[in-house]
């Protein structure tokens, strides 16, 4: 049963899935909704609260579905509208919500809107896109895909005009100055919410409007429109959410929360590379600095935290020096680099070091925000850097050691992408079935962490205070929510570390380790000493000496 709490997303664990990559139900080598339905029990077992689906709309697939050719249909290879509705029902029956990518900013050049628009200046759809007779307009806007695009304008010989695109040239930007476009996208959202979807991950929201003399990002007009979207959802679709993809600094993302009247959630993009930097350098400063620069958000809003996703590990929000450090550390082979980032999965990035994988997941699970797990990272799936673009991190999910990793029973040659089959990360050794069968695998660890996280709303809703012990290799913070105080301690170094903590404020309380329920020595006025193994971590609940009122009213007199 679904939680009725309107703030459910603040406690939720998200799980990102590409329909084509998860499970093939009809044996054609491409994942689909039938296959996905068959794997819902697994996601429920894991403890997932909300699935985020990448675009499943009809598309020429030049950008893996982010080039949408029809917003109101399901791509044939993934299934039918009935199957989508069945999938939503089955997910909801298991207490799992579903949000889906909605590409607000642009369409495919194959969309009928664009086809009609380019056909004639008099076309009713001409105004759906941004046209110019030169390629110098909005010259201050940066080019995002610098590997492939030389300009944000592309000449269309049929339209005999340049059209505006912030991403690939086959993805013309919609013209949000046109009220018909704004209305059409509102109707698109209403259509999917009526099917039962629980919200949208809104792609590339900073770029909806263009104004000369600006960088054409984060413009006030964009916020005005997004607030209109939110109003519509609040009125007609309570409990549904909007998640912003805005690859910006936190201070620039902050306006997307408005006064709690715009997006419910937004990704914290710049944190991700700093987590890797912190662990690689054994220094907590990059992580703390990032939170120092993260502004407060309204109480009904939430950050989304992640380690990896379907795109490259973006380094757009890094300085040149930081970017060089990340490339040197994590992507010395140029094949691992895509655009301004690193297209690798979590486990290979961390050299398959289980200690680092746990540590980074522990950070994402305990820092303020809701965690997102990228499909396959819960079992430590590998990647294939030989594949083009970002396909290397979009290979089939590895379910078993059977043919095609249990993803599909088709001829392996028909698979949309080859299954990872190398000796370290190959499906024969890394798969769900084997990790479910053993008690101490990464998968079982993830399940346990998710379970423990859910037991303590402080993880999703608590405030954060960083402690600054003398040992800078240890990252320590306190999360507080109502009567709960959690102490989170992470050793970012690859060697055992001691740390002395000033916990005078909590004198008298007893730290209880959340995973094993072991009671640590009581906190006193004196420095509290902990020792941590290499990349070790503690999740400690500081249980007060004198509870502020008993929870059940019988504890002190049970005997």
């Amino acid at each position: 049963m679904l939680s009725t709490d309107p703030l459910w997303y603040k406690d939720a664990v998200f799980y990102e899935i590409h329909v084509k990559a998860f499970a093939d139900g009809n044996g054609d080598g491409i994942g689909d909704f039938q296959g996905l339905i068959g794997k819902l029990d697994y996601l429920q077992w894991l403890g997932v609260d909300c699935i985020w689906l990448l675009p499943f709309y009809p598309s020429p697939l030049k950008d893996d579905g982010y080039d949408v050719a029809d917003f109101l249909q399901v791509a044939e290879q993934y299934g039918t509208m009935d199957e989508v509705r069945h999938f939503l029902d089955e997910a909801h029956r298991r207490g799992i919500r579903v949000i889906v990518d909605l590409v607000l900013n642009h369409t495919s050049d194959q969309h009928t809107w664009f086809q009609q628009a380019r056909s004639s200046p008099q076309s009713p759809k001409r105004g759906f896109y941004v046209w110019s007779n030169n390629d110098r307009t909005y010259g201050k806007a940066r080019i995002i895909f610098i590997d492939t695009e030389k300009s944000n304008w592309t000449w269309d010989p049929e339209a005999k005009a340049f059209y505006w695109h912030r991403f690939f040239s086959h993805q013309p930007d919609l013209n949000y100055d046109n009220p018909e476009v704004r209305q059409a996208m509102l109707e698109t959202m209403a259509f999917w919410l009526d099917q039962g979807l629980d919200g949208f991950r809104c792609d590339a929201v900073p770029y909806l409007f263009e104004r000369e003399g600006t960088i054409c990002e984060n413009l006030p007009e964009t916020h005005t429109y997004l607030k209109e979207v939110r109003r519509k959802i609040d009125v007609a679709y309570q409990g549904r959410i909007l998640l912003a993809e805005a690859n910006q600094w936190p201070t620039d993302v902050r306006p997307y929360f408005g006064d709690g009247d715009e997006f419910h959630m937004a990704f914290h993009f710049p944190l991700m590379p700093r987590l890797y930097m912190g662990v690689q350098s054994g220094n907590r400063d990059p992580i703390i600095d990032m939170f120092t620069h993260t502004p407060e958000i309204p109480p009904n809003c939430q950050w989304c935290l992640f380690l990896r996703n379907h795109d490259e590990l973006t380094l757009e929000m890094c300085s040149g020096e930081e970017r060089d450090y990340m490339y040197y550390t994590y992507a010395r082979d140029p094949k691992m680099r895509r655009n301004i980032g690193i297209a690798r999965r979590l486990a290979p990035l961390l050299e398959n070091d289980r200690r680092k994988i746990e540590l980074l997941n522990s950070l994402v699970f305990t820092l303020p925000g809701s965690p997102i797990i990228y499909y396959g990272d819960e079992i430590g799936m590998g990647d294939n850097v030989q594949l083009k673009d970002r396909d290397g991190v979009r290979t089939p999910m590895q379910w078993t050691m059977d043919r095609n990793g249990g993803f599909s029973n088709c001829d392996p040659a028909r698979l949309y992408l080859p299954v990872v089959a190398d000796p370290i990360y190959g499906y024969q050794s890394v798969n769900v079935e084997s990790q479910k069968a053993m008690p101490h695998t990464l998968l079982q660890w993830m399940k346990q962490m998710i379970k423990v996280r859910k037991q303590h709303p402080a993880f999703g809703r608590g405030t954060i205070t960083f402690l600054r012990p003398a040992n800078g290799r240890v990252l320590v913070y306190v999360r507080r929510h109502e009567d709960t105080t959690l102490l989170l301690v992470h050793n970012l170094a690859g060697s055992a570390q001691p740390v002395e903590l000033d916990l005078k404020e909590f004198a008298g309380s007893t730290p209880v380790e959340l995973l094993g329920e072991a009671r640590f020595p009581r906190v006193t006025e004196r420095p509290y000493v902990l020792t941590l193994a290499a990349y070790g971590y503690y999740w400690l609940n500081l249980v007060p000496e004198h509870p502020r009122g008993e929870f059940y009213g019988i504890e002190q007199t049970a005997l």
Binding site: K451, T510, V512, R519, P521, V543, E545, H546, G549, E550, F551, Y552, G553, I554, E555, Q556, T557, A558, L559
Partner: protein
């Protein structure tokens, strides 16, 4: 009773700290040893000592020794107790051994290593040929002079082996004791003891020699807490037990730990002793009252706030999280009935007494069969206990207090009636 041989003395006394052995060398006998257990109790222990001595000094013919067994107080508790008792009384201050594990296992008194304190006192009483050993917690603010008399008179005058306390209780106070510990003990050993833990009890010198010091004092004792252990021991050894109604029990608050730990320790003690005393309890068919002295009192009004909805929520959380464990430790019919309880709404929620008893017996059997790591098994009782307690409160909170007493008596009878369920399965698992 047999006197220990010199060699036995040597073995048992190796446990005693050197300062205690030095005190014992050449010490004069004491008719009554008062053991005062303390740990940072400077605010209460001196008054408790004075009160107990006042109660016993009425009889000048008894030779009395007050032994302050302290766990290493940082607040000068032993010094202050000594000042309080004055020069005229015989007084020893000793520090009992505190093992590493004891720090995590605080009894209701909050004194670490309480088991070693009791053992030390028992050995001192034995060496001094005492007729009675009275043990009282130093943080009991409600200690009254008549406590000393009530706890020692049955031993000195009637030849009793031990005297256990019975405090005045309020409605819904001590629900773990009244819904599980006491009725299980009654059903097992046939003695209707209140099983009120902590604070005050007394043993005869003979009982100490024959039953207390002869115990293995193994590692399980500190794990489960000394109070439940000595009370269960008394009834299991079929000692001549008396109960003393001591009135209210007011304690300087000290942390007890979380509910699941309390349950694991208290219930674990009962289950642990079931294994040792199977030969006793399996043949017991009925129960009898124990001799009780002191003024009788009914249950008082409940003080505080009961969060029944939270208890039911706690039970349902168990239904969500502990089903894999309950499937192992509960019988299939018990498990099925427990599952069905989860669908009731709050006001109509009821946990039948028979089902509760059956679940408790199932857990005892699972403990015996070692179906799971025992601490996890015992802690898995917590949601069931919350569910049954919530049901008890919902069924009786609008009723007079007599209704609560009657309900608890019916429950105790249910435990006795269902004992064959336990006995038969226990025997099967042994075969």
């Amino acid at each position: 009773m047999d006197q220990p041989t010199p060699n036995e003395h040597a073995v048992t006394e190796s446990f005693l700290p050197e300062p205690v052995r030095a005190l014992l060398d050449g010490a004069e006998p004491a008719d009554i040893v008062i053991g005062l257990l303390t740990f940072n109790d400077a605010s209460t222990a001196p008054a408790v000592a004075r009160t107990l001595l006042a109660g016993l000094n009425r009889n000048d013919q008894q030779r009395i020794l007050l032994v302050n067994c302290d766990a290493g107080s940082q607040d000068r508790t032993p010094d202050l107790v000594q000042q309080a008792v004055g020069d005229k009384s015989r007084f020893w201050a000793v520090q009992h051994p505190v093992m590493g594990t004891s720090l995590h296992v605080l009894s209701e008194s909050g004194v670490p290593g309480r088991d070693t304190a009791v053992r030390t006192l028992a050995m001192v009483a034995d060496r001094l040929a005492s007729k009675a050993c009275l043990i009282v917690d130093g943080n009991l603010k409600s200690t009254h002079p008549r406590w000393a008399e009530l706890l020692t008179a049955p031993i000195l005058e009637k030849g009793a082996d031990c005297v256990l306390p019975q405090f005045n209780r309020n409605r819904y106070e001590g629900t773990l004791t009244s819904t599980l510990l006491a009725p299980v003990t009654r059903a097992l050993y046939g003695r209707r003891v209140a099983y009120h833990q902590g604070g005050a009890y007394a043993f005869s010198g003979a009982f100490i020699r024959s039953s207390l010091l002869s115990q293995p004092w193994d590692g399980e004792v500190p794990t489960y807490g000394i109070d439940g252990w000595v009370m269960t021991l008394a009834v299991a050894e079929q000692a001549d037990v008396y109960q003393a109604r001591l009135g209210p029990r007011v304690q300087q608050a000290k942390p007890l730990g979380d509910l699941a730990t309390i349950i694991a320790q208290a219930v674990g003690c009962v289950f642990h002793m079931m294994e040792r005393y199977q030969h006793v309890w399996e043949s017991v068919k009925a129960s009898t009252a124990v001799s009780t002295i002191g003024e009788q009192a009914r249950l008082g009004d409940f003080v505080g706030t009961l969060h029944v909805e939270r208890m039911i929520h706690g039970f349902r959380q168990g239904l969500r999280d502990l089903v894999p464990i309950w499937q192992i430790v509960l019988s299939p019919e018990t498990f099925q009935q427990v599952l069905e309880l989860g669908v009731d709404d709050t006001e109509s929620f009821r946990f039948p007494s028979r089902l509760w008893v059956q679940a408790v017996y199932d857990l005892a059997l699972a403990y015996h069969d070692r179906l799971l790591y025992r601490e996890h098994l015992l802690k898995s009782l917590t949601p069931l206990y919350l569910g049954y307690t919530a049901s008890l409160v919902l069924a009786t909170r609008a009723q007079p207090v007599t209704q609560v007493e009657e309900e608890l008596e019916r429950l105790a009878i249910e435990y006795e009636a269902m004992k064959p369920y336990l006995t038969q399965r226990w025997r099967w698992s042994d075969e």
